[in-house]
């Protein structure tokens, strides 16, 4: 695999995982796009704030999140995203699968580096 392909695979992996991070962030409270972007960007999961909007659009299309508008004390009304029941169960499923996936990848990576 050439380095460029590795970067591309990583980008896809990151994007897939970021979708579930969005769901996880919405688990306890609803949030608006700008807020979500700030958190994910601070964690280094997204390079640009704009990246989350295609992801949010897809999550909404798949019925995992929904939106409603709310007045804001400062500035214009905001579109808040919240989890649907389907999103909640999808997140639960991902959490289990992710743990197994992460452990397996770690295990194999460590095996290769020690051999």
């Amino acid at each position: 695999m050439v380095p460029g392909e590795a970067t591309q695979s990583m980008a896809q992996l990151r994007r897939g995982a970021t979708e579930f991070c969005i769901l996880a962030l919405l688990k306890t409270s609803e949030r608006y796009g700008f807020d979500l972007a700030r958190v994910l960007s601070a964690k280094g999961l997204i390079a640009n704030d704009g990246t989350i909007y295609p992801l949010l659009a897809r999550l909404r299309r798949n019925g995992l999140v929904e939106t409603n508008w709310k007045e804001s004390t400062e500035g214009p009304p905001r579109r808040y995203y919240f989890l649907t029941d389907e999103g909640r169960s999808s997140l639960k499923g991902f959490s289990v699968q992710w743990a197994v996936f992460r452990d397996s990848v770690d295990e194999i990576l460590n095996e290769r580096s020690s051999s």
């Binding site: 960007s41 704009g50 295609p54 500035g75």
Partner: protein, 200 residues
């Protein structure tokens, strides 16, 4: 809110670039994206002074390069991009056969190759009615021209010339309405789907 004209220009030019970068995304999705970005900028801008050009530039930079975001959008969207030829498809199917013989056929081929329309509309576009509006001209259900001669007091002579398919009067009307109405309805639907998508 930003009312400063330099800042307004910056925002408008950013959104315009984004719109161009999203040209291959369906119009409905494009509108959604632009409105999300405009909202993000407005929310971020609310914390800035009205004249804070540097602050706004930082917001836009943090949002990302429109060209790069457009590519990301295409990768995230599993749907196939719309084709430039989609714009002609409804017209070709509607009028293609009248304007130039194989026009309708070209339209049907493009319709089936495009990802913009779903199976139901592809069938609709193909079967209702083959040839589009040309089907009406072909059948010409109402062509029965009658002319009357004579002056007041005289016996009136009626001379009728008919061509095409001659059917009895009430059916004439029904058939004509169907042959014209159905292609118009299908044409409108295909145009609508291309412009606004399926709403899901």
């Amino acid at each position: 809110m930003m009312v400063n004209s330099v800042n307004d220009k910056l925002v408008n030019s950013y959104l315009r670039e984004l719109k161009t970068a999203l040209r291959e995304v369906s119009p409905r999705r494009r509108r959604e994206m632009i409105s999300e970005f405009a909202e993000h900028i407005a929310v971020a801008g609310a914390t800035l002074d009205a004249n804070d050009e540097v602050g706004l530039r930082n917001v836009l930079e943090q949002l990302g390069d429109p060209e790069v975001l457009g590519k990301e959008m295409m990768e995230t969207e599993s749907i196939s991009p719309t084709r430039p030829s989609d714009a002609f498809v409804p017209w070709l199917i509607f009028l293609g056969a009248i304007l130039f013989g194989i026009g309708w056929l070209v339209g049907v081929v493009l319709l089936w190759r495009s990802a913009t329309w779903r199976l139901f509309d592809k069938l609709l576009g193909t079967l209702v009615l083959p040839g589009g509006l040309f089907a009406f001209l072909l059948v010409r259900p109402t062509v029965k021209a009658c002319s009357s001669y004579g002056s007041p007091g005289q016996k009136t002579l009626t001379h009728c010339v008919s061509s095409g398919l001659v059917v009895t009067a009430p059916w004439n009307v029904v058939l004509a309405v169907l042959l014209v109405g159905a292609p118009i309805a299908v044409f409108t639907r295909l145009l609508w789907v291309r412009n606004y998508g399926y709403g899901d």
